[in-house]
């Protein structure tokens, strides 16, 4: 980066402002309290930051979504509470907190109540490894990516708990759908990140981001053939993982009311809601990290780059919601197992290929391979028409 030194200094200062702030606080504390307290304080500061960040993100994501959907549907969206409806999430929060907490009579009460609490935990835990900016990763685990995948997979269990604990058949159906969907999409998602791991030779999110630096910090993985395919797959799987449209079968209103959170209301519902939005955010963040270079980017501070990329991906998710109709169950599963899974495997192969040959030929080869495999897979996945049903009494 050939920038004037002053500019660079300024940029660094802005870039590392949060980090430096934490450093100052800890420095201050170390003079007062014993060392282990400082360690704890470091953890607590990061934790508090994350814990605050989570609900805030959730609140304003809902607003963003409502606004965007509104725009898509040619209306305004919330615009009464505060300017542009900015206070709407707070109002909603108040409403949520004050609502009656209903527990069904035959519910498995402990589990019923535990589920919304448990579901927030993994959602928050994944924030630990999200690189918000340069040196802004809460815990720089060397298995960060694996940690992320592992922890996000726990999400199924609270959903099960909720669906089971409610003693409601729609809940149960929703839970089972969720479980099936999440397990299915976890597989292509995990496999789609394998090329990234291969190329960056690390599981650490930080290192992955760093390996995407280059001229103008723009050597993002999405600009490689395997990267673009992997990104698309990953992003689709991410949409499915957080049960968002068009993969929102677990909570399909027209089919099973609201899926696993049918019986939830008030704060418990808010928690589920929050977990969902936090998951969406983290998944978009991870997608940005893995394929879009994370906080890498010219000129602007790293965290702005990161949040900007994440924001764009979230907008795309919302755009999906506004655009696509819902999948059918068998199409959903078939899409994961019969289309995405083979494509990820081919993607891994292509990644290996691209690693060993020059960039241009790599593009040509991968283009050929992808078109052929795409064509083959589409041919093999011809839409399956269910047998026409006969209704003998219809006439």
């Amino acid at each position: 980066m050939n920038m004037p030194p002053l500019l660079r200094d300024i940029e660094f200062a802005v870039d590392l402002s949060f980090v430096n702030a934490k450093g100052w606080i800890l420095d201050l504390l170390s003079h007062i309290v014993p060392d282990w307290v400082v360690v704890f304080a470091s953890i607590v500061i990061s934790g508090v930051a994350i814990l605050v960040l989570g609900p805030v993100i959730m609140m304003y994501l809902t607003l963003l979504e409502r606004k965007l959907i509104g725009r898509i549907q040619n209306r305004y969206g919330p615009n009464r509470v505060g300017i542009w409806g900015l206070l709407q999430p707070i109002a909603d929060g108040i409403k949520m907190f004050t609502k009656e907490d209903i527990v069904p009579v035959y519910a498995d009460k402990v589990i019923h109540c535990l589920a919304p609490i448990v579901i927030v935990i993994p959602a928050l835990m994944v924030f630990l490894v999200v690189p918000f900016g340069e040196r802004m990763t809460a815990v720089n685990l060397n298995i960060g990516l694996l940690y992320f995948i592992a922890v996000s997979s726990i999400t199924t269990i609270p959903i099960f708990m909720g669906s089971w604990g409610s003693r409601n058949k729609y809940s149960l159906l929703g839970g089972m759908r969720t479980a099936a969907q999440m397990i299915s999409y976890e597989v292509p998602m995990t496999l789609s990140v394998v090329p990234v791991i291969m190329m960056s030779q690390s599981l650490s999110t930080n290192k992955i981001v760093l390996s995407q630096s280059g001229s103008y910090d723009m050597n993002w993985f999405i600009f490689t053939p395997w990267g673009i395919v992997g990104f698309i797959i990953f992003f689709l799987c991410a949409v499915a993982e957080c049960n968002r449209p068009p993969f929102d079968l677990p909570e399909a209103e027209s089919e099973i009311i609201a899926g696993f959170h049918t019986e939830y209301s008030g704060m418990k519902f808010a928690l589920f809601y929050m977990a969902e939005y936090m998951n969406a955010f983290t998944l978009c963040g991870i997608a940005a990290t893995l394929f879009l270079g994370g906080w890498q980017g010219p000129f602007l501070p790293s965290w702005i780059w990161f949040l900007g990329k994440t924001f764009v991906l979230i907008c795309v998710m919302i755009w999906f919601r506004g655009t696509f109709p819902r999948f059918r169950v068998d199409q959903l599963m078939g899409f994961a197992w019969k289309f995405l899974l083979p494509l990820t495997l081919i993607n891994i192969l292509v990644a290996g290929l691209c690693h060993f040959i020059s960039e241009k030929t790599g593009w040509i080869y991968s283009f050929i391979i992808f078109s052929i495999s795409f064509w083959v897979l589409v041919r093999l996945n011809r839409p399956w028409m269910p047998e026409k049903r006969h209704y003998p009494l219809a006439n």
């Binding site: 498995d108 592992a150 199924t156 089971w164 479980a179 999440m182």
Partner: protein, 169 residues
Amino acid sequence: MDMLSLIIKFGIYGTMALALIAAIAVVTLRNLFHSALCLAAVLIATAMIYAAFHADFLAAAQILLYVGAVMTLIIFAIMLTEQLGSKTIRQTNRQNLAALAGLLVFVVILGRVIFKTPWPVTEKALASKVTVMELGKAFMGPYVFPFEVISIILIAALLGAVVIAKKDR
């Protein structure tokens, strides 16, 4: 940092206790779903213990595979097979006392053995730290054959499970 290690130590013991309690809950709870959730707790606790032993990769894999996949499968199976009102059905068979007695003897014997055996604990081993890279190299190096075997077993199990669980036509 003595304090830190003390906290970690107690944290480990606490995790162990939690795991044991959850394990006992697993085998004694009547509601199988609760058992399964307790198992999840045990697994997570175990994963934490792994992490404490610097087996990060294993911990993550434990969570990913066990909690993410196996538990889901088990809960799935429970949901498919369990009638909702099955809480009241006796969940243990008649040989629990005999089993308990046998286990007691077993625990006593093995406990004695464990305590009596001089374990060859080496400092070098204690100091070593295994990275994911090394694990991967080990997989691709000396353990490549078992690794492939395991992959074949997994595929076989996948197909087998599909075939078995498929509805008869």
